[in-house]
Structures are given as C-alpha cells and as structure tokens.
C-alpha cells in the first residue's frame, strides 16, 4: 500500500496551511461556511490522508461537547435583539433566535478548526514535524527537540501522578493531599528532565554546531503548490458561501 498523499507532504507546509485555514475560520461567524470547511477537511483527510472515519468520530466527541456548550450559552443568555423571535422559553430561560444562530456559528467554527487540526496531526509524524521545523522553519533545534521531549514526558507525568495517588491512599491518610502529590511530582519530574538532558548532552547535543538529519523529510519548496492549491480551495469555499448568501464575517461584536 502506498503512503497517502497528505502523509508525503512537508510538515511545515501542512502546518502553515492549517494555521492559515484556522485564521480564515476565525473571521467567519455564520454556521454554513464552517460546515463547508468541515466537509472539505473530512474529504481531504479520508481520501488524501488515509485517516479513518473513526479517528474523526473520536475527536468530535470532546469537541462536540464544548461546541454544544457554546450553542446553549449563546442561545439562552445572549440579550435578544429588538424584534427577535423567541422560539422556546422555559421559565426565565428564553431562547433567542439570533443568539441560537450565533452560538451555532461559533460552535461549528470551533469544530471546523478542530477537524482541520485533526487532519494535520493525524497525517504528520511528530519526528518529521520536528525535523522539518528545524530545517525549513528555522526553529532552533534546542526548542524543537524540547517539544519532542515534552511529548514523551506527558504519559510519564500521568502515570507518576497515579502512582502518587495510590501511594497516598495506601498509607491510609484521612484525605488525599494533592499539593504534596504535586511537590513529589515536581521533584521526580525535575530529576527525570535533568537526566534526559545530561544523556542528550553526552551524545553531543549541547555541542552540536552543524546538525545533520537522518530522516529524509520531503522538502518544503516542492510543497509550495500544495499550499497554494489548499488556500485556493479554501477561498473558493468562502466565495461559494458568499454567492449562496450565507457568508457573514466577524464585525467586532462578541455576542449576537
């Protein structure tokens, strides 16, 4: 099986496209345009990235919960505009039509940025990303490799905290002591980080002047067309939405 198209793209180019799409989405407040973005991002992810529908489904659950919160708070608590219709009311809670629309818009916008990000993350190897950021985006290698170390660190922190919680419980303390746990966590995390740093320096990390790369990551210049086409598609989607009369851009207000 050949490697899917999106996986063969340069990580820095993909990251740039992801950021550009997210910025465009931030400007959009109607509910239809983000829906179009979601459709296109899903299509690209499944067809060109080989990403399973299940992967998206798993990501949508937490994103969706946050999105529903946005819908509810805007619909129920936004001040209704004069002449606004009230499709539903329970006691003091009055759902306003403009608030509902605004809430759905924000929620879908968040969801769209989420889906675009999932497409990026799921089609990008973290090591390739780090190599590409150092080589193509001129990110200092110390910072980029620290990101990699942090990525490895997270599961450790979770495991460690679980151990501490159990250790406290087994001592039969009247109540758990989260603060003591955090101090213990810091002390072990600090020691661990120092050890990793020393081990990296012992293999010449601190003294590297001209680093080479073992990984052959696709060059960023060959993916300029990919970036341009992606942006053109995004602009076409916005144009389509405008032509249909759906598009509304952000006008500086924070509620309906």
């Amino acid at each position: 099986m050949s490697v899917p198209y999106l996986l063969r793209r340069n990580p820095t180019a993909k990251l740039a496209v992801t950021i550009a799409l997210s910025l465009l989405l931030v400007l959009v407040i109607d509910p239809y345009t983000p829906l179009l973005f979601i459709a296109f991002a899903l299509l690209a992810g499944v067809a060109l990235g080989g990403i399973g529908v299940r992967t998206y489904a798993r990501a949508i659950v937490p994103l969706g919960i946050v999105a529903l919160g946005f819908v509810w708070s805007n619909a129920a608590f936004a001040t209704p505009a004069p002449g606004d219709t009230v499709p539903a009311a329970w006691g003091p809670v009055r759902i306003s039509a403009s608030g509902l629309l605004f809430g759905i818009g924000i929620a879908l916008r968040g969801l769209a940025i989420g889906i675009v990000s999932v497409t990026f993350i799921r089609s990008t190897d973290p090591t390739d990303l780090v190599v590409s950021l150092v080589r193509d985006a001129r990110v200092p290698y110390r910072i980029a490799y620290a990101m990699l170390a942090a990525y490895r660190f997270l599961p450790f922190v979770a495991q460690e905290y679980e151990q501490i919680r159990l250790a406290q419980r087994v001592r039969g303390l009247p109540r758990t002591r989260p603060l003591a746990g955090i101090i213990a966590l810091f002390s072990t995390a600090l020691r661990r980080a120092t050890r990793i740093a020393v081990a990296m320096d012992a293999r010449g990390f601190a003294s590297a002047t001209r680093r080479t790369f073992y990984r052959d990551v696709p060059s960023v210049s060959s993916d300029v067309p990919f970036a341009i086409v992606s942006l053109l598609v995004a602009l076409a989607v916005i144009a389509l939405s405008a032509a249909a009369g759906w598009l509304r851009l952000w006008d500086g207000r924070f509620s309906a």
Binding site: P126, T127, Y145, L148, A149, Y151, R152, P155, F156, Q163, I164, L166, A167, Q168, R169, V170, R171, G172, L173, P174, R177, A180, G181, I183, A184, S187, T188, R192, R195, I196, V198, A199, M200, D201, A202, R203, G204, F205, A206, S207, A208, T209, R210, R211, T212, F213, Y214, R215, D216
Partner: protein
C-alpha cells in the same frame, strides 16, 4: 570523562586534571570529548531523546554532523551488532522493554564509534531477561578489546569474568582501593567491609570456605565447594510452619481501564502471618498491581480478597509516599502517638533529623523512612516493592536486617523483587507471576531447582558442586552457607 562536567553541567572544578585521548578535558571541546567517550546510564527511561529506534540510534551522529549515507551505514551496523534488526523489534521506542531500550541506547553510542565507553549500572533497572541480554552485549564488547570499558557497578558477580582492573571510591569520593580484581576483592576485603562496598557473592562464598581465591564464575566457585565443603555437615532444618492466613485472594483480576489487558489475571493465593514471601517475575508481569490489590489500595475487578490483617505497603520510590514537610510529620499525619514516632525514628536512625524536610534526605534514609511510616500502623503484613533497588551494601544490609527482625516479630513480609540473592537468602516462599498469572508458588528451594531458571551465583555454584559431590547440600545463598558452617 565525556566532558559533560564541566562543559554542559555547571560544577566547581577543584583541581587536578583529566586526560582523555591525550587531551585535557577542561580545555578540549565537548564535541570532541563526546566523540571519544560515550556513556550508558542506568535508567532506560531517562536517556532516550527520540520516538523511534532508528532516530534514536542516529541521534548522536546527527549532533556530530555525520552525513546521511554514512549515518545509514553506521545505524544499520550498530543495530545488527545489538540484535535490534528484523521484524520482531518494534519501531516505536515506547513499545520496547527496558532491556531493549538499554540496547538501543548502547547501539546509539556504538554508532558514534567511541574509543571509550562508560557503563553506569547498565542493568540496575532491568529484569532478569533484560539484564542478561544487556550483559551479553557488554561481554561481547569486552571480548573484542577494541575500546576501553569503564563499568560503574554494585553487583559484581555477573561481570567478574570481564574485569581487568577495579577502582573503589570511598565515601569522600577519593580512591580508596585500586588494582586487579584479586588485589581488591581478596587482599582488600577487610577495607571493603569497612567501606560498606559490595563484595562479589562468589568471593564471599570462597571466603566462608577459607579460600583465598576469587572465583570468576559459579563453575570456579563450585570447584572450591567440592574441595572444601566439610564432610557430613548436616544442614539445620529451617522453614517454621506458617501461621493462620492473614490475606486470602480468590480468582482476583485487575486491569487498568476497559479494553486494557488484565494486569492481574485470576490469581488465588493466601499470605499467612509470619511468612517471608518473595513475589518475582519480569517487568510488567503484574507484581506491583498484585501487591496493591493485597494491600487494598486497588479494588479487584473480579474475585475477592479476604483480609483480617493491617497491611503496610512500601512503594519502590519513597518520594511517592511523602506528604508533609518534616520527617516526624510523616508519622503524625496518620495519627501516630508521639512516643511511637520517637521509637520508630530511633529505630531507623533518623531521630536527629525529625524536623528535617523528608525530600532532603539521602536515598537510603528516604527508603528507611518509607518503611518506618508503613510500620506506624503496626501492620500484620508488610509489602515492599523493590526495597533494595538503588541501595548500597550498607543500607541494603540494614534494611534486610530490619525486615528479618519484623519477620521474627511474627509479621508477614512480602517482597516484590528482581534481586535473586535477596530471594535466596531471605524468602521462605516464592510466588512467580507471568502475564498476571501465578506460574509458581512454593518453597524457595524448589523454585530454584529447574536447570533453566535464572538463579543467584551461590545457588548455581552449589548446583554444579552437587554434580560432583552428592553430599554437598543444595544451598541457595550466603546466609544458608553461614548457618550450615555454624556461624
């Protein structure tokens, strides 16, 4: 020696000079030094920098600016040398066992083609199989003699056959003893006792039999046993019958989350009061999980645990259990009365440090503190997870003496451990777990019987000796030897 001090770690250089490959390390560059000398550290979890095996092996080469074609060649040859190629080896580092991670790091060092290799307790964190694989790799490097090896180690029996010279550091960091292995371990043995430095078990065996030799392998030690073991020396019977069951587990299973594999899978066993039990098995076999279940810290997903006992539990890393800012506070927090606090602190030799912050204690002191806090509830059963891990000889001996004392008081002691000499010397009963199931539960004597099972060096020496002299008893450890010899 690799220049990390003083070039990358801030340290005060008090004086003297260190010359590596003809260059003073203080004036040579870190880049040059790390090319000459590579270091393998103790903990496989805290020296990996990357996410995948190949990137890790190439990491040092990248730092030194080696070009890609050359890197490919060196990565392939280093992996081949350590048996890391092929489909069986996962690509991602987080899917490797500790022993494999150590071999990946060793491969990344060999790829740098250093002239010297420093190995800092390379097997201390590994289980039996992992340690054996890493030791085999080191033995092969030692045999080919193309580079210098400096091994920092407490446990010496497995590497005795490889050693040319030994240097012993005293408590103040000065060179206390140096010379050939014979000069240090035989001629210098009294000084080592004084310093509290480990002496190889096989040397202690020879010493107990009045020999001046330093056996380098169990077979060599067996020769000494055959020659010197007193005829018709009967072994005093040990193993007093255990008391009433204190904890009974029936069909106990546990897993960390739905869909995860069973960490403990249908375990049934009883711990009787007054027993000394060793719980053994490879890393990830479920030992600690079972310990936590028996202690009541985890609740079984299936099966039942009946316990009439108060259970104390000592974690592998003492820091995990610290909750206050003073040593005495660690006892007061669970409501221990003051006179009991004072008695326990005196017992572990920390009375003078009662008001110190527990995080500032040495590792040995923290370990003793964590044992003592478990004793604050006056437990009937004490479970300890790897109690001798990272302890020097003096602290290990102190701790084991304390456990024997608790055992004599009639408490059950359950030790989760990879430390085979500890098992051989102290445990009456061994329980082995594999993939969460009990695969052995019986007397220690019987546990070490099968030829294919890893056993401590002294037990192996007696096994070999018995092939030649049937009247030599099947002893397992040095304590049994001392007892049999009437000391």
């Amino acid at each position: 020696m690799d220049g990390v001090i003083p070039h990358a770690l801030d340290a005060h250089w008090d004086g003297g000079s260190l010359v590596v490959a003809g260059r003073e390390t203080r004036s040579a560059s870190l880049a040059d030094l790390t090319r000459q000398v590579a270091v393998l550290f103790q903990d496989p979890e805290t020296q990996l920098a990357m996410l995948e095996v190949d990137d890790e092996v190439a990491f040092g080469l990248e730092n030194h600016g080696v070009d890609r074609a050359e890197m490919r060649r060196r990565v392939a040859s280093a992996k081949a040398r350590l048996g890391l190629e092929g489909e069986r080896v996962p690509r991602r580092l987080d899917q490797l066992s500790g022993g494999m991670k150590q071999r990946v790091t060793l491969a990344s060092l060999l790829a740098l083609e250093p002239r010297g290799l420093v190995l800092d307790e390379p097997t201390a964190n590994l289980d039996g199989d992992g340690a054996r694989a890493v030791l085999d790799a080191i033995a092969e490097l030692a045999r080919d003699r193309s580079r210098s090896l400096l091994l920092i180690e407490h446990r010496l029996d497995d590497v005795l056959a490889l050693i040319d010279r030994v240097a012993v550091l005293g408590d103040d960091g000065s060179l206390a003893l140096g010379g050939t292995a014979e000069e240090v371990f035989v001629a210098g043995q009294d000084r080592l006792d004084e310093l509290g430095v480990w002496i190889p078990q096989l040397r202690l065996l020879a010493r107990a039999l009045g020999s001046d030799a330093l056996p380098r392998s169990p077979a060599e030690a067996a020769r000494i046993v055959v020659e010197r073991w007193p005829a018709h020396r009967s072994v005093p019977p040990a193993d007093p019958s255990p008391g009433a069951p204190a904890i009974v587990a029936r069909g106990v299973s546990y897993r960390y989350g739905r869909g995860a594999p069973w960490a403990v899978d249908g375990v049934g066993l009883a711990v009787a009061s007054g027993e000394f039990v060793a719980l053994v098995g490879a890393n990830g076999s479920g030992k600690s999980t079972l310990g936590l279940l028996l202690a009541g810290a985890l609740r079984a997903a299936r099966g039942t645990i009946d316990s009439t006992a108060r259970v104390g539990y000592v974690f592998q890393y003492p820091e995990h259990q610290l909750v206050t800012t003073t040593v005495a506070g660690e006892f007061r927090v669970t409501g221990a009365p003051e006179e009991r606090v004072a008695a326990l602190l005196a017992r572990i030799g920390l009375a003078a440090l009662a008001e110190a912050n527990p995080f500032t204690l040495s590792h040995g002191q923290k370990r003793r503190l964590s044992v003592a806090t478990a004793l604050a509830i006056d437990p009937d059963v004490l479970i300890l997870d790897e109690p001798t891990f990272g302890q020097d000889r003096r602290h290990s001996e102190e701790l084991l003496a304390m456990l024997e004392e608790l055992h004599r008081e009639g408490r059950a002691v359950v030790v989760i451990t990879h430390d085979l000499p500890l098992v051989a010397d102290h445990a009456e009963r061994v329980i082995e777990l594999r993939d969460g199931r009990v695969v052995f539960d019986g007397p220690a004597q019987r546990y070490f019987e099968p030829a294919e099972r890893g056993r401590p060096p002294v037990a192996e020496a007696f096994r070999i000796a018995r092939l030649e002299r049937a009247d030599v008893p099947p002893l397992l450890g040095l304590r049994a030897v001392q007892r049999a010899l009437g000391r």
